[in-house]
């Protein structure tokens, strides 16, 4: 067994039960309700909701449903590098658009 396979086995043996995931789902539903509620206060509020609540919801799915919480540093690194690259491209695009 390699070092990298160990965390998977540990995770399988000690993975969370049904209740944990139902609680995460309930949190996601509440956050969706909050996002819809916030969007009623105008476009600016809706955009702030998009920039704050939506990444939080996605984070919940990544961290719990996709088991990123239980993965080793290699898988976490792959995901963070990909998301970081996307963020850099977003920033570069806006830097370009803002100063035209």
């Amino acid at each position: 067994m390699t070092e990298q396979t160990k965390p998977m086995m540990e995770h399988s043996e000690g993975s969370p039960g049904y209740g944990t995931f139902v609680a995460v789902w309930a949190a996601l539903v509440v956050l969706t309700g909050l996002l819809v509620f916030v969007s009623h206060f105008g476009q600016k509020a809706a955009v702030w909701g998009l920039l704050t609540i939506t990444p939080l919801k996605a984070g919940f799915v990544f961290y719990f449903f996709m088991h990123l919480k239980y993965e080793g540093p290699l898988v976490k690194g792959v995901v963070f590098v990909a998301l970081g690259t996307l963020l850099i491209f977003f920033a570069l695009t806006y830097a370009d658009v803002a100063f035209r």
Binding site: T2, T5, Y18, F21, L35, G49, T54, F65
Partner: protein, 205 residues
């Protein structure tokens, strides 16, 4: 779960399988991320047109579909838990529920698209051609991004249906649950993409 091959088993690398799936998902993130960047640029260029075009969409169906998608993500993860506990019947039931929810999602989307197409709001439609360029761009992005997402839902249904059959036949069990875990990872990413599509098109536009 074992990554080591016995004398009669094919060699298997569960960690490699999972890492490979994550690498594939990264390409999907970049694919949709590029579209999100394109949307953001166009939205900053045509804010009023995007606002008006967004009000033409049926936000109720968008919100309902978000709840459907979130619930389908839950049923997939519950299917994984039940498989790892050796509860085959529950795994089949949770996967069946996921497929039903996915079909409901596509049905909702179909109803929504039908309404929009009926009002002449589709690419290259004579009515859409009379609207300002910003609104034409909005509907172009809307059909491209929700259509591409819909294709991913269809692909996910195919994969999860295949996994469901193999679980029912006993070919996937707690000993090789990585197959279901990887199918679940794909489905959760499809869910994450929709989490972003809801505010982009229905709430913040």
């Amino acid at each position: 779960m074992s990554s080591q091959a016995s004398a009669h088993e094919e060699p298997r690398d569960d960690f490699g399988a999972k890492l490979g799936m994550w690498l594939f998902l990264v390409t999907e993130m970049i694919l949709f991320g590029g579209l999100f960047i394109g949307y953001s640029y166009m939205r900053s260029k045509y804010p009023a047109e995007f606002h008006h075009a967004g009000s033409e969409l049926n936000a109720t169906i968008g919100i309902l579909n978000t709840l459907v998608m979130l619930t389908s993500s839950l049923t997939v993860v519950l299917a994984i838990v039940s498989l790892q506990r050796g509860e085959k019947g529950k795994t089949v039931a949770f996967l069946g529920a996921t497929l039903l929810l996915a079909a409901l999602f596509l049905m909702d989307k179909g109803i929504e698209w039908r309404g929009e197409i009926g009002r002449g709001l589709y690419p290259d439609a004579p009515h859409l051609a009379t609207l300002p360029p910003g609104e034409q761009v909005f509907f172009g992005l809307y059909y491209t991004m929700t259509g591409l997402h819909g294709l991913h839902v269809l692909a996910g249904m195919g994969v999860l249906g295949w996994v469901l059959m193999r679980v029912a036949r006993g070919q996937i069990s707690r000993d090789n649950s990585v197959v279901l875990e990887n199918a679940g990872l794909y489905w959760h990413l499809v869910d994450v993409i929709w989490i972003f599509l809801l505010p982009l098109f229905y709430l913040a536009a």
